[in-house]
Symmetry: C2
Subunit: 299 residues, 2 copies
């Protein structure tokens, strides 16, 4: 049976490390790092995500606040609110919970957050720096995947990796770091040979690429997309998918992209859902916030 890559426990370890670092940083005279989470509208999942982020911030010693606006809040007003936080010297990190209500241009909003406060790593400047292997703020989910590969000591150098899903916040940055040169300044290059698959990859080609992969990272939101016959014995499977499904008992449960029970008989290592990439994403967001605070305050 595959080794379970326990993201929940690892996230706890990382948050504990971060808590000590932040404590030390405050002890030498800095105020606590500060984060503002903007949420527009009433999407219950989004409110849950933001609540988890605020809780994690509080756990590690980051001073965090949620700023809630109702669904009728306009793009112009949102941009003005972000610009005010950009100017506020008491704010180190700003995140805008996505998705935003229809009619608001998410790209424009993401690009309004000052790059140095953009703890989600969605600003064009941060994406450009990531693509050039420069030190930058990396989208938390993508960073979580790389951090898991590193901490669980999964060899990537010269190995075949497949990334399933090409979203700009998840699949693309993961593929970027996985294929890049480990000697470049970011320190995040993994030197793998990387295949990017997506909705237009024919099923038989997806199968073929996956079966040749030492590492599969899947981020599609399609339950049971990755089946046992697509996995090379001993491969590592990182499941970024999170889909809410109804169980037979009528309860809601979270599932990933991987047919976990079958795949874990073949794979060498696999992340569970829930308890895999999800909690690691929140931990990486906290790391990004502390990094943003340190950089802005010159240490």
């Amino acid at each position: 049976m595959a080794r379970v890559l326990d993201g929940k426990t690892l996230a706890k370890e990382i948050k504990d490390e971060l808590k000590i670092k932040i404590h030390d940083w405050i002890n030498i005279g800095h105020r606590a790092p500060s984060l503002r989470c903007i949420i527009v509208g009433n999407d219950p999942a989004s409110h849950t995500y933001v609540k988890n982020k605020i809780q994690a911030a509080s756990d590690v010693g980051i001073e965090a606040e949620t700023i809630k606006y109702d669904e009728t809040f306009t793009e112009d007003a949102l941009i003005a609110a972000i610009e005010s936080l950009n100017r506020d010297k008491n704010v180190d990190g700003i995140l805008v919970q996505l998705p935003l209500p229809g009619g608001i241009d998410e790209r424009k909003v993401c690009n309004t957050v000052a790059p140095e406060k953009d703890v989600d790593g969605f600003h064009i400047t941060n994406v450009g720096q990531l693509s050039l292997d420069m030190p930058t703020i990396v989208p938390a989910t993508a960073l979580a995947v790389i951090e898991m590969l590193k901490r669980f000591k999964i060899e990537t150098f010269g190995r075949n990796a497949v990334v399933v899903g090409r979203s700009k916040n998840v699949g693309m940055p993961i593929a970027m770091m996985l294929h890049s040169d480990g000697n470049h300044d970011s320190g995040l290059g993994m030197d793998a040979t990387v295949t990017i698959c997506h909705r237009y990859t024919p099923a038989e080609q997806l199968e073929l690429h996956c079966r040749n992969a030492d590492i599969i990272v899947t981020a599609t939101g399609i339950p049971k997309l990755i089946k046992a016959n697509m996995v090379k014995p001993g491969a590592t499977i990182i499941d970024v998918g999170i889909t809410r499904v109804q169980s037979e008992q009528g309860k809601t449960k979270l599932v990933g992209d991987v047919d976990y029970d079958e795949v874990s008989k073949i794979a060498g290592a696999v992340t569970p859902v829930p308890g895999g990439v999800g909690p690691m994403t929140v931990a990486m967001l906290m790391q990004n916030t502390f990094q943003a605070a340190q950089k802005q305050r010159g240490s």
Copy 2:
């Protein structure tokens, strides 16, 4: 025998089209688009490249000038010179011929060129926009590859493409456009399944990935890297490599990454070297310059 994808003739066609468009644009009252090419030091190949660019500019009606500095020119002085061109309303496009002499930080220099005048597409903002599938200025060599695939009607949608080489100016942007969504704003997404191979891809894996590819784009500078046994019958091969080698007669000649004579017996289509991607790159640079001029002057 493979169809020869004649880049020289296609580049001529594109430049002829561009010449008409620029002529029309000047006729409605605009001054000619203007380009400044900065070259530092005495590298003969670089001087040849710049000369070709100036010639192409003159062919299409772009007013172009070379600005030469000697090898001892400092980074600070170069940055000051670029900043002055950034402010100059009579300059639409600026390019700094690479490589720069040792001791000058190329990344810093590329990032000094104003993004809207950055006809090489190397500025962080332009790279970020490219990675997000936004309209932007795309590095000319990468754009040349995509334009050739389009104009020669090579199907990419859902096909397997391999990019060999992960350089930030060539391989990376090509892989980015090849895998991206054709419906996104850039209009450059090609919807292929893309595998990025590089120096750490084991030889037998490179062979395997290439043999499964409908399209191979190679940009390594390693002569005869791509051999006939690595090519699927009927595949399209785009050869971005340019290496100067000594022929048996002692003359210098240019060769690509592809074992052309053997590969052209197997492939469906192949670009020659010279006369393939090279001339197309210069044509795309002219297109970028006209695009920069139009955008800055609001049309």
